[in-house]
């Protein structure tokens, strides 16, 4: 029952929300599409929170995606023991870095009175959810060794089975609870993405790298 909920209901609900709500928000309410920075009001703690968080979580997240997109090459790469040890160590370090950053960001929200005006329920939900998510991630990385390897043989085929609308949850149902929490957290975050300021993730500015510096807009052209 719980397995069905976590591994079938949640991911498809999340998928449906991100596919339908994101364009709706884009076309109907783009004014709220912002990274919603609070650097203006508080910057000292932010530096120690926001940088570790982003520089920790982005490579870890990218590694998760790499496993899904290129399972074959990743298996070959991590078949080498030395590669595997280095990969896991770097991953764990980055994970701890992200946890540190997320913790700093949470404490910052708690301790800075000025930030109350720009802190909404969604901010607390996201902060605690992301903190829990990175903590379970670090736990899995520490106590369920060689995750980068078994991930490719369990979670990755399961995720592919989701995408082909033929969910095979037996790949992942026998894992301990903490792994299931990690998976459930991931799906909830994806589901919340189009409703919260997480939408800033969907916009990575690469266009400006090739554009000329000054942008003109002509009404007539």
């Amino acid at each position: 029952m719980l397995n069905n909920f976590i591994f079938i209901v949640l991911p498809y609900a999340a998928l449906a929300l991100i596919i339908f709500v994101t364009p709706y928000r884009y076309f109907s309410n783009r004014l709220t599409w912002s990274a919603y920075s609070t650097q203006f009001l508080e910057r000292k703690t932010l530096f120690w929170g926001i940088n570790p968080w982003h520089y920790g979580i982005i490579p870890v997240l990218a590694a998760h995606f790499l496993g899904v997109i290129f399972p074959g090459p990743m298996k070959a790469f991590l078949g080498n023991e030395r590669n595997l040890v280095i990969f896991e160590s770097v991953g764990l370090a980055l994970g701890l870095f992200a946890v540190f950053g997320c913790l700093a960001l949470t404490l910052r929200r708690v301790n800075t009175p000025l930030l109350k005006q720009v802190t909404f329920a969604s901010d607390w939900v996201l902060l605690y959810l992301l903190l829990a998510q990175s903590l379970t991630g670090v736990y899995v990385a520490t106590f369920m060794r060689w995750g980068s390897q078994w991930y490719l043989h369990t979670a990755v085929p399961y995720l592919w089975s989701l995408l082909t609308f033929n969910p095979q949850i037996e790949y992942v149902t026998d894992f301990p609870m903490v792994f299931k929490l990690h998976a459930a957290g991931a799906f909830v975050i994806v589901a919340l993405l189009p409703f919260t300021k997480l939408v800033h993730m969907l916009y990575v500015p690469f266009d400006f790298l090739k554009d000329p510096p000054i942008l003109y807009r002509w009404r007539s052209k």
Binding site: L31, Q117, I214, R217, W218
Partner: protein, 483 residues
């Protein structure tokens, strides 16, 4: 030649009385809302002073504007690669303390306070947190009229001799009203990773597209004039919009319209967009001359033809011919750009203020030629100060402008007092009778439509059927009607 039109404002600092009416009319129209309390799209500073935000002119702190590097221009703060890696924490962004914590007063306490032995007072509260503020420690014009000059005015980076503001005999001040300069080479536009900032092709107004802005905050520090503000409520950038809903219909900007001293002139300039970068590569002290070269003569048939090819309408060409700002900036060369060395090519120009001669000790009222014209070195506001502010350090340019202003004043004064009028006074300063008359009218009796020549955008002439027929008056979104 790639001729474009630009709406430009000229400020006559000699006439500014520092009343802040412009700031108030701007605030009432545009920034009287949550998240924008601390924004002063138009503000008035006392010079010497630190300005708003504090020390905005010091680019070692905020790293705004452009620098020359290997024969090219680049943003002082960082290139495009580092921009990507500084998106989470923007290191140069001005913080709330560089502005001030916006406040209001709780007037309800004046009549709601319970009976007591003390007179009730309206206590200050923060407009951000809503909490009571024990002490107000800053404001948009905290150093107005040189108040706290030993703390603030001495920090003015244009001052060569800092003891000046401590010496009553030599002290001077003038006001500096500032809006967004709607630059020809805007650093804010170049710094935006989302490409939310843009320059309008038709009138050169620089705007932030609120739909596109993602709040990466690079513009707030890339603008060397600190005229892009971060709205803490919406998480997006906002700036002066040159009152485009007013200028599009031929009305004057709210700040210029409400100006008590009538110090502002608004009009059209034609410029050569292809020569902007080349001009900005000149050394600091040649930048004003380079500015003037980029600005084109609206009477030149070649310029007019090229402008028409770029879609500049006849109405705009006519306005460019009558433009008061063209006269002040290029024809007479009295109006100068604010800090041209930031290399954004600002399109707000300033006529330097005259000041009394220093009267200290033996050389009391030492005057030069004709008995009434003061020596420029004896003016209270040092030429070096004005040059640092308005000409990239070029003393000659400031001197030429001041000489014209003084000559005009002496000439007109003699005329109105019935004294012998010496045309040579004008000649020596580079003016003639007709020019003096034109300047005199612009500075004094010229009316609203003479001081400001603003052509409309003529939107209604372009596609009236489609605009009215297919989209009604809700015109913000593009229609899918027949092309």
């Amino acid at each position: 030649m790639n001729v474009r039109a630009q709406l430009v404002m000229v400020f006559n600092l000699d006439k500014c009385i520092g009343c802040h009416t412009c700031s108030i009319s701007c605030k009432n129209i545009w920034t009287d809302r949550k998240g924008a309390e601390y924004m002063w799209w138009n503000n008035v500073e006392t010079k010497p002073g630190v300005g708003y935000p504090k020390k905005w002119e010091n680019q070692d702190i905020f790293k705004g504007g452009w620098i020359r590097e290997n024969g090219k221009l680049r943003l002082r703060a960082m290139g495009k690669g580092p921009t990507l890696f500084n998106m989470f924490f923007q290191p140069n962004m001005p913080k709330l303390d560089d502005y001030y914590e916006p406040f209001d007063f709780d007037y309800s306490n004046l009549y709601k306070a319970p009976p007591g032995s003390d007179q009730p007072v309206a206590e200050a509260f923060s407009q951000i947190s809503g909490e009571r503020m024990e002490e107000i420690t800053g404001g948009p014009n905290w150093d107005d009229d040189l108040s706290g000059s030993q703390v603030y005015a001495v920090e003015d980076s244009n001052l060569e001799d800092r003891t000046l503001v401590e010496d009553y005999g030599r002290m001077f001040m003038h006001y500096l009203p500032r809006i967004c300069n709607h630059c020809l080479n805007p650093a804010c536009v170049a710094s935006c990773p989302s490409r939310a900032l843009y320059k309008r092709g038709e009138d050169g107004v620089v705007l932030v597209d609120q739909d596109v802005c993602k709040g990466w905050r690079f513009c707030t520090s890339a603008c060397p004039y600190k005229k892009v503000y971060f709205n803490w409520q919406s998480g997006k950038a906002e700036k002066c919009i040159f009152c485009f809903p007013r200028t599009e219909t031929g009305q004057c900007n709210a700040c210029a319209h409400s100006c008590v001293g009538r110090i502002r002139h608004v009009g059209v300039l034609l410029y050569d967009a292809d020569r902007v970068e080349e001009a900005l590569l000149k050394p600091d002290d040649q930048l004003v001359a380079a500015h003037r070269q980029v600005i084109l003569d609206p009477r030149d048939p070649q310029v007019r033809e090229s402008a028409r090819a770029n879609g500049v309408t006849d109405q705009w060409l006519e306005a460019a011919e009558k433009s008061p700002v063209y006269a002040l900036i290029k024809e007479f060369g009295v109006a100068l750009p604010l800090h041209p060395e930031f290399r954004t090519m600002p399109m707000a120009y300033y006529i330097p203020s005259l000041s009394p001669v220093i009267s200290s000790g033996a050389d009391l009222h030492e005057l030069a030629i004709h008995g009434t014209i003061p020596l420029l070195e004896k003016l209270r506001a040092p030429i070096s100060f004005l040059a640092s502010l308005l000409s990239g350090g070029n003393h000659q340019i400031i001197a030429e402008s001041l000489q014209k202003l003084i000559a005009l004043r002496v000439f007109k004064r003699a005329g109105s007092l019935g004294q012998p009028v010496l045309e040579s006074t004008l000649k020596e300063a580079g003016l003639d009778l007709a020019g003096a008359d034109k300047l005199y009218r612009l500075f004094t009796i010229g009316g609203y439509r003479e001081r400001n020549v603003i052509p409309t955008q003529q939107r209604e002439d372009l596609d009236s059927y489609q605009r009215k027929g297919a989209s009604g008056f809700g015109i913000l979104k593009k229609t899918r009607g027949p092309k």
